[in-house]
């Protein structure tokens, strides 16, 4: 039911713009509630504290080029990094720049994870770039992005 979801989302996005919900500022321990509206830039700033992320081969994002279902798009982020007490990946974040709230999930890791990997499934309201951001224990911020096409199909 990708199409239905897709259009539901498109329709919904306009509705939200009209209601003009307040943009949340997000404190460290607060939990999200209600529908949120956060641009890619706002979300990235909140995650990195304003630091510009570096495109790097050390972080990999795996998403399909063409989504099978815009409502269920698998995404996997992996970071090539040790996971020791002194050198590890502190967090992985998934962002979908074209959604009305670009921020999908913030995952805080510890050395006890053994590997820096996170995988989930997200909703995409249309064709857009999906990004994975990693914050390392040394303060480095890495990013990788790939475009995902959310299509209504139309051939065979």
């Amino acid at each position: 039911m990708q199409r239905r979801e897709f259009f539901k989302q498109l329709g919904a996005a306009t509705a939200v713009a009209a209601v003009a919900l307040p943009t949340m500022s997000f404190a460290a321990d607060a939990k999200p509630s209600g529908p949120n509206k956060m641009s890619f830039e706002t979300a990235l700033n909140a995650i990195t504290g304003g630091k510009t992320p570096v495109k790097s081969d050390k972080i990999k994002i795996k998403v399909p080029e063409i989504a099978e279902n815009g409502a269920v798009v698998p995404v996997t982020a992996t970071v090539d990094s040790p996971m020791t007490d002194s050198d590890y990946v502190k967090s992985i974040h998934i962002l979908a720049g074209g959604n009305s709230n670009a921020r999908c999930i913030d995952v805080n890791l510890t050395p006890a994870n053994g590997k820096a990997m996170f995988s989930t499934r997200i909703k995409l309201g249309g064709t857009q770039e999906v990004s994975a951001v990693a914050v390392l224990s040394n303060g480095e911020v890495l990013i990788a992005s790939q475009s995902v096409k959310v299509t209504i199909g139309g051939c065979g």
Binding site: A15, A112, G114, I122
Partner: protein
Amino acid sequence: MAEKRKSLIKIKPKKYKDGEVVKVDFMVMHPMDTGMGKDKKTKEIIPAKYINSVKFNYNGKEITNMTVWESLSVNPVFTTNMKINGAGKLTVTFTDNTGEVHETSTKIKPKG
């Protein structure tokens, strides 16, 4: 208010040793409504109801915590790694924006 929710923790591979890094899948039946979708029939906005926090706790130590926003798919899946460090219990706790709190656990039994 809290409904009974089907949830599952899977460890891959099924057999593992101490010190091994395994994959952990946590999945739960949850609508993950963004608060922006409309009911197709009534045309009314479906109120937001989505998981907003997930925590993985292994033998009393929090190894991963997640802040979750509304873009995750219905019946979400969360997959991370975990380094096996002795027998015990892995507990996943999650809350949603309407105040539901759930907890689910699995035994960790390394072989050899």
